[in-house]
């Protein structure tokens, strides 16, 4: 019998290796799988390449992972924000590498990784410094940049409901990078608010079919990053 549900966060992350590429969902705190990120801190893997839209806030979640010096390289579109202190400090000291990618190109590269497309052309960034060193090419009189797919060893994603097959629904704009990151990772680990029985999710309303998901762990009351930050929390 197929059963992708796992008992708890440590069981979901026991085998992460040093040097892994980790796709982490979320747009700021929205959709951020904060319990899984904390689980990854506990698990201890190092020298990670993390692909995520931002670099975390305060001293919890992704910022805490970076602060714990587990991340060698960030691939993201927007590495600073009002509550983001950890990444900028390490970056200025030269202790973390940054690959800056326009947000839509980041999303498309991840989707391409999941869809077996090794490279594609996009108008985004053509004629800018972010296209430097990349192949540019004209189609029908317009310039485009060739971008390569991104794949991850691991994806950490937050969703709403999941079943034993790994079928997922999401919650509002928390969906953001979740579905495409599940597609693009060798092992997609998803924290859901509710594990439901097989058949409970309407096949019409499944957002991410279970084929893209490897492990589902229930976290009924995920923490809100902004609340933790307001409380001055840090992890661990």
């Amino acid at each position: 019998m197929i059963d992708k549900t796992v008992a708890d966060v440590p069981a979901a992350l026991a085998d992460v290796e040093d040097g892994a590429t980790v796709l982490i969902g979320g747009f700021g705190e929205s959709g951020s799988p904060i319990e899984l990120i904390h689980g990854l801190i506990d698990q201890g893997a190092r020298e990670l390449t993390v692909v995520s839209n931002n670099t975390g806030n305060g001293h919890v979640g992704l910022a805490a992972l970076i602060q714990a010096k587990r991340v060698a390289k960030m691939v993201c579109s927007y590495p600073r924000s009002s509550h983001s202190k950890v990444f900028p400090e390490l970056y200025r000291k030269g202790e973390i590498e940054l690959e800056l990618v326009p947000q839509g190109t980041l999303a498309e590269r991840i989707r391409a990784g999941g869809a077996g497309i090794p490279a594609f052309f996009t108008p985004t960034a053509a004629g800018t410094v972010l296209a430097e060193g990349k192949e540019e090419r004209e189609f029908d009189g317009r310039r485009y940049v060739m971008e390569r797919a991104i794949r991850g060893d691991l994806a950490l994603v937050r969703a709403e409901a999941g079943d034993r097959f790994g079928n997922l629904t999401f919650y509002k704009a928390g969906r953001n990078f979740g579905p495409i990151m599940c597609m693009a990772a060798k092992c997609a680990v998803v924290q859901v608010r509710r594990i439901v029985e097989a058949g409970e999710l309407d096949p019409e309303e499944v957002v991410t079919p279970g084929i893209f998901v490897d492990r589902v762990v229930e976290v009924p009351e995920p923490a809100h990053e902004s609340q933790l930050i307001a409380q001055g929390a840090s992890y661990p």
Binding site: S77, R80, F170, A173, F177, V207
Partner: protein
């Protein structure tokens, strides 16, 4: 983000009001962070506009009442929003398919610099030591059909923001069609900047002096018909 003292020309709210007059009924619109966010409040009655945000919502509305914010119902500026009837959620690759695929009719953005050839710089000053961050800016200006800019006519230090050529790193070359500045409405034409409307109390000489590129006055130059608008709340 408070209003500058003794400012010349249009207020931020008046710029937003003027930009809003250009949004036709039925348009799909993406509003940037800052002054552009004020545009929604000024779209003329009787016009229905659908707002898109990069993080995966079409059809959102105003901020919710205090206490009803949902961290998974936010816009790209990470501010809480509400949903209007007919809204939809989607993942990041689909969201940027809307942008890159030319499905969004208008984006209204702030800018650091706009050049007479339509180049725009709004993501980086290129300064040493700054944390580079691009977000969805490059995707928006490369993909949306009409790229409109709202900006003070000069920087806080009085430096021109409308230039012959941008000195900051480009967001995209040749994409801006119109600028709503504190001094008026400026079209980007094959012959460079064309002043279509001028702000009350501003002279042509003042516009020319504050613009670091030739700027012609349209033959049918009008005064901006902006109503007196109460100053918006700081940081609105």
């Amino acid at each position: 983000m408070t209003e500058r003292p003794n400012r010349l020309g249009l207020s931020r709210a008046q710029m937003a009001w003027r930009a809003a007059q250009d949004i036709p009924d039925g348009a799909y619109v993406n509003l940037g962070i800052g002054i552009p966010e004020l545009v929604a409040a000024h779209v003329p009655e009787g016009r229905e506009v659908v707002y898109h945000t990069e993080n995966g919502i079409l059809g959102f509305g105003d901020a919710p009442p205090p206490g009803e914010e949902d961290p998974d119902l936010i816009n790209a500026g990470k501010k809480p929003v509400t949903l209007l009837p007919g809204a939809a959620f989607f993942h990041h690759a689909d969201s940027f398919a809307m942008i890159r695929g030319g499905h969004i009719d208008y984006c209204i953005l702030g800018a650091m610099q706009v050049a007479a050839n339509g180049d725009i710089a709004n993501w980086s000053t290129g300064a040493e030591g700054a944390i580079p961050a691009v977000g969805g800016a490059m995707d928006l200006v490369a993909g949306v059909r009409h790229v409109l800019v709202i900006t003070e006519h000069t920087t806080r230090e009085g430096e021109p923001k409308l230039l012959e050529r941008c000195t900051y790193p480009l967001t995209a070359p040749g994409v801006v069609s119109r600028v709503f500045s504190s001094f008026g409405v400026i079209d980007v034409t094959p012959e460079g900047f064309l002043l279509k409307e001028i702000a009350p109390g501003v002279s042509l000489d003042q516009v020319a002096a504050a613009t670091a590129a030739p700027i012609r006055a349209a033959r049918d130059l009008k005064e901006v018909a902006a109503p007196a608008i109460e100053k918006e709340a700081a940081g609105a």
